[in-house]
């Protein structure tokens, strides 16, 4: 059951072969068994989950259920969920009980999905390995001595280890796609503005975007149908017409489902820095896509190499602004001793934030400070425009862009914590997508030394339905997304 698609799980419930309570209990039992060694979940509340499952069963009996009704999902601990502890992976919010639901949570509640619990993540979404979490690191289910990726590391491990039917994540520089690649499943970061950020704890407001993390593209499409949509409470939410993301999924596999599709391969994503074995897996995947009818051309994203410096000006700058709300006054950690208000702020923030978060706040504060704003923040915004223009030009020559998601496979725990830049380079292929606001996916494409490798698919604005079908067509002729780690039976 645990390896079934969302559609099949929904069928099990509809046919009464299983109840949502039984399905939820199965996942809760697995969490109980495996979470101590993986640490994917920060908070589990069996009572709440089973109560939701019971309500879902009633809805199924009454005939008012839809495809995700009663399906147990994991929620990244960045989404405020009413009456659930919502920590964002930080000591700062270690005891924060959210008094309201994020839009994403409301959407899932409205269709009767079951919340299995809040998953572990890098602190305030800053990281690529889940090692900055106040609640401890997460282990990659494929190799417990390695990282699952980040910042959505907990959701990633939960999907890979089948501790949920699917999960939500957020992606600011690659935090859905990179863990999807390292843990061998499908993850999608939608076009910026498609999924409301209301109630999603803010890191970098012009880059953050929530998205699905699930075994297959079809599962991601079903999740997107619930997650996407205009929300007036998010000022950056786009009034894009409601879409059915499953609409373009080929119903019957036929010989050349991707005939007529032109795919661009950016030469900058196949250059120095890409692990040779990862490149081989990607090349093999490309052969499969060619068999499905896709045509490949070489393209260039000339400003791609500037993605990292631009991101590490913009994201920390926005983070320094967003995290200034954590002052110990109305919520969050407050120091035990202080002589005056200034000291209260300074001690609370020094104690509540971890090293990486403090580092990024300092960078952000610096680049926004008087005398430096033009040279750094404004300059970065201009180069951001150039990067977006590169993609615009590329999409005149091709429909879809492909490449590796990450330069290598999952690294060992502790391997990159001493060198911030080595960690930042994990996102070298994913970051430009966030800067441009484009949709990006990672699709499992094979293994290198028994570790998962992901293929990245980047689409034009609002092209998620097509991207999902491109991945879906590949997943009809390959089965990487059904592979399960050993020892997680």
């Amino acid at each position: 059951m645990i390896n079934q698609s969302l559609k099949n799980l929904s069928q099990l419930l509809a046919s009464k072969a299983m109840s949502s309570v039984e399905m939820t209990q199965t996942f809760l039992d697995r969490i109980h068994q495996y979470n101590p060694s993986i640490n994917a979940y920060i908070t589990v509340d069996e009572e709440k989950s089973l109560a939701q499952a019971k309500a879902a069963d009633a809805s199924i009996a009454a005939g008012t259920a839809t495809v995700l009704t009663g399906i147990p999902l994991a929620q990244k601990d960045i989404f405020c969920a009413k009456d659930w502890k919502t920590t964002c992976g930080s000591k700062m919010l270690a005891n924060f009980i959210a008094p309201y639901d994020a839009h994403v949570i409301t959407q899932f509640n409205n269709v009767g999905a079951v919340n299995l619990g809040k998953t572990n993540m890098d602190e305030f979404a800053m990281g690529s390995s889940n090692e900055t979490s106040y609640f401890g690191g997460v282990k990659n289910p494929w190799d417990l001595t390695r990282v699952p990726g980040g910042s959505s590391g907990g959701s990633a491990a939960a999907v890979a280890a089948r501790l949920c039917a699917a999960a939500t994540g957020t992606d600011t520089g690659g935090s859905i796609r990179q863990p999807a690649s390292l843990c061998g499943f499908t993850g999608l970061k939608p076009t910026y503005g498609l999924v409301s950020r209301y109630g999603m704890i803010a890191f970098a407001s012009s880059l953050d975007q929530a998205g699905p993390m699930a075994k297959s593209a079809e599962d991601c499409a079903l999740m997107m149908n619930v997650m996407a949509g205009f929300d007036a409470r998010d000022s950056t939410s786009l009034n894009h017409p409601k879409e059915d993301y499953t609409a373009q999924l080929n119903q019957t596999p036929f010989s050349q489902p991707l005939a007529g599709l032109t795919v661009g391969l950016p030469k900058e994503y196949f250059a120095e820095g890409l692990d040779g074995d990862v490149a081989k897996v990607i090349e093999t995947a490309i052969v499969e896509y060619k068999k499905l009818g896709a045509e490949f051309i070489d393209i260039s994203l000339p400003n791609a190499s500037l993605s990292i410096p631009v991101y590490y000006v913009l994201a920390p700058a926005e983070a320094s602004s967003n995290l200034s709300r954590y002052d110990g006054v109305r919520y969050g950690h407050r120091a035990a001793e202080y002589d005056d208000l200034m000291e209260m702020y300074m001690k609370s923030r020094a104690e509540g934030f971890g090293e990486e978060v403090k580092r990024r706040i300092l960078i952000g504060t610096y680049v926004l400070s008087a005398g430096y704003y033009d040279a750094y923040y404004l300059k970065a915004q201009k180069i951001r425009h150039l990067i977006a223009e590169d993609f615009k030009a590329a999409f005149k020559q091709c429909d879809i862009i492909m490449g590796p998601t990450v330069p290598s496979t999952a690294f060992k725990i502790g391997e990159k914590t001493g060198d911030p830049i080595a960690m930042y380079l994990q996102d070298i292929y994913t970051i430009a997508t966030n800067l441009a606001g484009l949709p990006g996916m990672s699709v499992p494409a094979g293994f290198s030394n028994d570790l998962p490798v992901g293929l990245q698919i980047i689409g034009n604005y609002f092209d998620e339905a097509r991207m999902l079908n491109v991945a879906h067509a590949y997943q009809q002729v390959t089965d990487w997304q059904t592979a399960m780690p050993k020892g997680i039976a």
Partner: protein, 95 residues
């Protein structure tokens, strides 16, 4: 963009984060690499390029000036460290 220990202390103060001398030194060495990385931007010619903050051509949406929020003070203050009479308590600011 070479920073020194006093720069770090000044920036930390702006960010309202307490930092010791030892921590400032440690931060300085970790930041050095990142700051060099950022300098790469200066080599790019951006004359005449408009800064971009949103990929779509959108403007700030406005709404009617009507009250839509409800009073949830008790629920929101449940997370506060110190409250009294519906107010948040902090050290005295004004003499």
């Amino acid at each position: 963009m070479a920073l020194d220990n006093s720069d770090i202390k000044r920036i930390a103060h702006l960010a309202r984060i307490e930092i010791s001398d030892a921590e400032a030194d440690k931060t300085l060495s970790k930041l050095a690499g990142i700051l060099t990385l950022i300098e790469q931007m200066q080599a790019v010619d951006t004359t005449g390029i408009r800064p971009m903050s949103h990929s779509q051509d959108v403007v700030q949406r406005l709404r009617d000036d009507v009250v839509t929020a409800t009073n949830q003070r008790e629920a929101f203050q449940a997370n506060a460290t110190a409250v009294e009479g519906g107010l948040y308590l902090v050290p005295k600011v004004i003499e």
